[in-house]
């Protein structure tokens, strides 16, 4: 993969790998993650406005397109709250590191995977668990009830949600025979009936379990008891303002983006484009075009999944935090285990 990146970026042959990796990380963040988060922020506001019979942002740019930019500019110029808790700053740093370390394993295409080992699918889970733990500690260091309760609730739902999600990942890895992104992508192809989600009935269950447990882990409404704007006013983030609030919101969008990209690659065929097209492009040595087309396909599917999640989250009332964990342990986990068993039998029957 490093060579592919080197050829795309037109770097000289002897560039140390570390430099290439750092460049790739920066490029993926700036050109893929950041624009997608901004676009997603805009689309969420317009979508929710449309559902609520409102107009939504319409002044900043054509049809309000630059609203996230003006939001960011506004937040940048605000002063942060003066009470700086050193412990909190440390945990905030750890949370940021955990979350953004996952940019390294973001599956953005078959040729541009930076880390393609069997563990690359599990790194985001590690990142999310550390994020949850850091939020818990941040909440405990704050002196307010909303921080304290918010931190506790975050830890509850964060730790809970990863269990069904991991089982669902196991389901996706079974037909592929491995967990590296290229294995999983190879097991699916461009046609929808080859996608893991539609291959067999248990795939659909696993996809739904994966998405819902993702909403639980990341705290997306209506399963966001930890933030719960109606009485906690934001939980651990209640006192944030200014650039920190901007980073917090951006990190929430990034979390959702990351989870949806994973869902698309694991269950919905990822970046697969029809075989004939890939062959033709590979023969003509135009790697850049392959990368762009695959990225485009991937992002279309990711946005579709994200918008669907936003729509469902808008119309459903929020659930209480203990009801969220009930949903997780009593509904999602059994269903994910059943689908794992079903998947195992199916795979054995198909290949055995």
């Amino acid at each position: 993969m490093i060579t592919a990146w080197q050829s795309i970026l037109n770097l000289p042959e002897h560039t140390p790998h570390a430099v290439v990796m750092i460049l790739v990380l920066i490029i993926s963040y700036l050109f893929v993650v950041l624009p997608c988060s901004l676009i997603m922020a805009f689309m969420e506001r317009k979508l929710s406005a449309d559902l609520q019979a409102r107009v939504g942002p319409n002044r900043s740019g054509p049809a309000g397109f630059f609203q996230p930019v003006s939001d960011a500019l506004k937040l940048m110029q605000k002063v942060d709250s003066p009470s700086s808790n050193r412990a909190e700053a440390i945990w905030l740093g750890i949370a940021g590191m955990a979350l953004y370390s996952t940019v390294a394993v973001l599956p953005l295409g078959s040729l541009i995977l930076l880390v393609d080992t069997d563990m690359s699918v599990f790194l985001p889970f590690w990142g999310v668990i550390v994020l949850t733990f850091a939020t818990l500690m941040m909440g405990l260091t704050q002196d307010t009830v909303s921080g304290w309760l918010g931190g506790l609730r975050t830890s509850l739902r964060g730790m809970a949600g990863v269990f069904p999600a991991l089982i669902a990942v196991l389901c996706a890895g079974l037909p592929a025979g491995g967990f590296s992104w290229s294995h999983i992508a190879a097991a699916q192809s461009a046609a929808p009936y080859h996608w893991t989600a539609f291959n067999n009935p248990f795939g659909a269950i696993s996809l739904i379990v994966f998405l819902m447990s993702g909403m639980i882990v990341l705290g997306v409404a209506p399963l966001d008891g930890a933030i719960s704007f109606s009485e906690l006013r934001g939980g651990t983030a209640a006192h944030l303002s200014g650039p920190k609030l901007g980073m917090f919101r951006l990190s929430r969008f990034y979390g959702m983006f990351l989870w949806c990209v994973m869902a698309v690659v694991l269950f919905l065929g990822g970046w697969s484009i029809p075989e004939g097209l890939t062959e033709a492009l590979r023969d003509s040595n135009s790697f850049g075009v392959i990368v762009l087309i695959e990225l485009f396909v991937l992002l279309i599917k990711t946005f579709a999944v994200m918008l669907l999640i936003v729509m469902f989250s808008q119309v459903t009332p929020r659930m209480r935090v203990d009801q969220v964990t009930d949903l997780n342990w009593k509904v999602l986990s059994p269903f994910s285990l059943i689908s794992l068993v079903g998947f195992a039998f199916w795979t054995a029957w198909l290949h055995g």
Binding site: L51, Q52, A53, R54, V55, N58, M311, Q314, V315, T316
Partner: protein, 185 residues
Amino acid sequence: MTSSVLSTLAEYFRDVFRGARSLFGSFMTALPYLLNVNSGDLRKEVTEQYPDPVSSKTADDLPPRTRGLLFNDIDRCSACRECEWVCPVHCIEVETQSVPADAKVWVSKFDIDFAKCIFCGLCVEVCQPASLIHTKQFEGSVYDVRDLKKSFGRGPIGEDQRRKWARAQALDEGREDPKRGEWPS
């Protein structure tokens, strides 16, 4: 024992089913808003965009009885002070100055403090000559709160006015020749 296990299982699946069903039900109810399927005005956006484009209501669209900012036509005002008396927040101040016997009443001061006015409409209701009315104007923001005290009065009587009255009286009493004028100073 078996029946209670079965019934618990049945209740569990019924719960899950109900949850999924109401999730989809709410979604399907809200979806037409997204797609504007029923393009009658039931599902359209209802935002009144103010002050920009024409979709916003202007003062003319308001109903005739709207209790907007007050206006007093000082030529019709008879300075009966009914409005000053009835106002629940005492925001109207009326002052008159004495005039010759047959001249019209001179309302020198008629101030309404819109910072205090609650737009209840009682003053308009009791105004006999119907000089005090509600306009439909609702945009009354100012930068200084003292600018909210609007004056409708004529101000103190000036020399010009006294001279006019004196000439009118002289004409009545026949002391002056109507054809002789006065050089305006």
